[in-house]
Symmetry: C2
């Protein structure tokens, strides 16, 4: 059913139908109600493409989850289709949270995953085809980030998550980060207040900003508190469950095991607990653990997400005014 058809039934023009849909003033109550009734009765919905084409703005956001592994192509090639599924569990809390926030603002969000540099065009394409008005990029390291900037137009609005702010770039981009450094620093301080001296860490991917900053915060805290910073108490993980498992096994097999371990994300904590259960050690008696668990994660995530929410419409509007 089109607005034309509906209008004919009611006995008005489609202009009138359109006006009540778009809440124009100066429509007599009676007309408005007649139209509204018919809309409901005939279950009429305006075609979104037509509306968009005619110039009505509805904000839809693209969420691009980057996980570029060009170098590991054999991995992708060998496995069959089923197994190509990549386990990006640790983006899940962010993705859920983002969709939630966006939905609350009645934004539409369209999600896409990108595994190779050669798929990066999807972002630019989504913008240029006017599918999205803004976009959020998560999962990129600095190299990927630069590649993204290359492909897109400078005036596209983008929010980068977990990427170092780049003041030099002209792009209409914002950078969303939690205070990874301080969070990690505080974890160590908290351990120290509890009386721990031998503190270990399972790091995340150090080429991700969050991984690096958490590591820096950890090290600086250890040093500033005059605690021992020992290489065998640090396991270089990659934010994945398996590295949490192996990291914990390794830390617990050293001669002097740490009494407390800071684990850089939730996913690795899962693996760590598995390792601990296999060894039959007691938490927190034998070993204390702090991770970025879901609750902490969310509460740490929320401010930047709020930032995104606030900034996105603001910047979109700004962009509109400027152009």
């Amino acid at each position: 059913m089109t607005s034309e058809e509906l209008a004919k039934i009611i006995g008005v023009s489609r202009s009138t139908v359109s006006r009540v849909i778009n809440n124009y003033p100066d429509i007599p109550l009676e007309t408005r109600e007649k139209v509204l009734e018919a809309i409901k009765k005939y279950n009429y919905y305006p075609n979104s493409s037509a509306r968009k084409l005619a110039g009505v703005k509805d904000t839809t956001l693209g969420l691009f989850i980057l996980d570029i592994k060009d170098m590991e192509q054999p991995h992708h090639v060998i496995l069959n289709d089923e197994n190509l599924l990549y386990d990006n569990t640790f983006f899940a809390p962010f993705i859920s949270a983002f969709i939630d926030h966006a939905n609350k603002k009645l934004f539409y969000v369209f999600v896409s995953t990108i595994y190779k540099t050669s798929e990066l065009w999807k972002i630019a394409s989504a913008f240029n085809e006017k599918r999205i008005d803004g976009s959020v990029i998560i999962g990129s390291n600095h190299i990927d980030y630069l590649k993204v900037l290359e492909t897109i137009n400078k005036d596209n609005f983008i929010a980068f998550i977990d990427v170092e702010e780049d003041k030099s770039n002209i792009a209409n981009a914002i950078y969303v980060n939690i205070n990874n450094y301080k969070a990690a620093f505080d974890v160590v301080k908290y351990f120290a207040e509890l009386g721990h001296k031998d503190i270990g860490m399972i790091t995340g991917n150090l080429d991700k900003l969050s991984g690096k900053k958490r590591f820096d915060g950890f090290k600086d805290a250890i040093l500033s508190l005059n605690l021992p910073l020992r290489e065998e108490w640090i396991y270089y993980g990659d934010f994945m469950e398996m590295s949490g498992y192996e990291g914990m096994k390794k830390l617990l097999s050293s001669i002097n095991t740490p009494t407390a371990v800071f684990i850089c994300n939730d996913t690795m904590v899962i693996g760590a607990y598995r390792a601990i259960a296999e060894l039959g050690l007691k938490v927190p008696d034998d070993i204390s653990i702090i991770g970025f668990d879901n609750a902490q994660y969310s509460s740490l995530m929320s401010p930047p997400l709020t930032t995104v929410n606030v900034s996105l419409p603001k910047l979109l509007k700004l962009q509109q005014i400027c152009s």
Copy 2:
């Protein structure tokens, strides 16, 4: 830049531009290349709304994550905006997998979460406004499922995940389920082969099909193997981490603890390991555990997902031909 403008630059009509974009035959190579070159040079992308309106089909799928808790409204009302974020971690593997599959087929997928019955209109609206061509619904129990069917048109194509197949309904729906019953049955059999007799379980939500079927499979296996089915070895969980934690604590505090526990999903396994680590018990020496872990999950998921992929375009096409 519009196709009109681009055409003018090249010195052809926009019809021609459109034809090369849409791969019409009978275009002289020279013309085609000239156009292609200009497209690249001027970075021209056709407007997706205009294309859609003109009748070009591009498949976009809606993924609706249902988590309806009408009864717990105070929960939602009291907390501030940040905390409204719902933790739907256990949908994450499915969501990622789905987006992955869809992306591989070059489908667009637009994701939305629904927390109340009153938001159910979003699904119908997405269809009626022609935003989506098909949709996947996950997270509904049988009641929610019926409500969804009420709101949508019978000819909309929908795939329901984890909902009992309803042969009576006329809707153009498919039902995607893994063999929960058999999977659970097999777990018990496997435990038994290992020599376990005292087998416990932490169930999922029993109003979800997967929760119920896994429970059924478990019970039937226990009975058919003449093993003891004891109420104190069963904890009624809800698929959330906390219930895994509490469930395991409870199971391990009974007089005769089970030697093996089947835990109904990955998320609860996490909590269970935490409980075990707090008690300082050893896995698998003191207690054996099988959950639906990620690897199993994915491999169990894949066939139905493949089903979705195969069925979706097929049914879409069918629908088209019929109408």
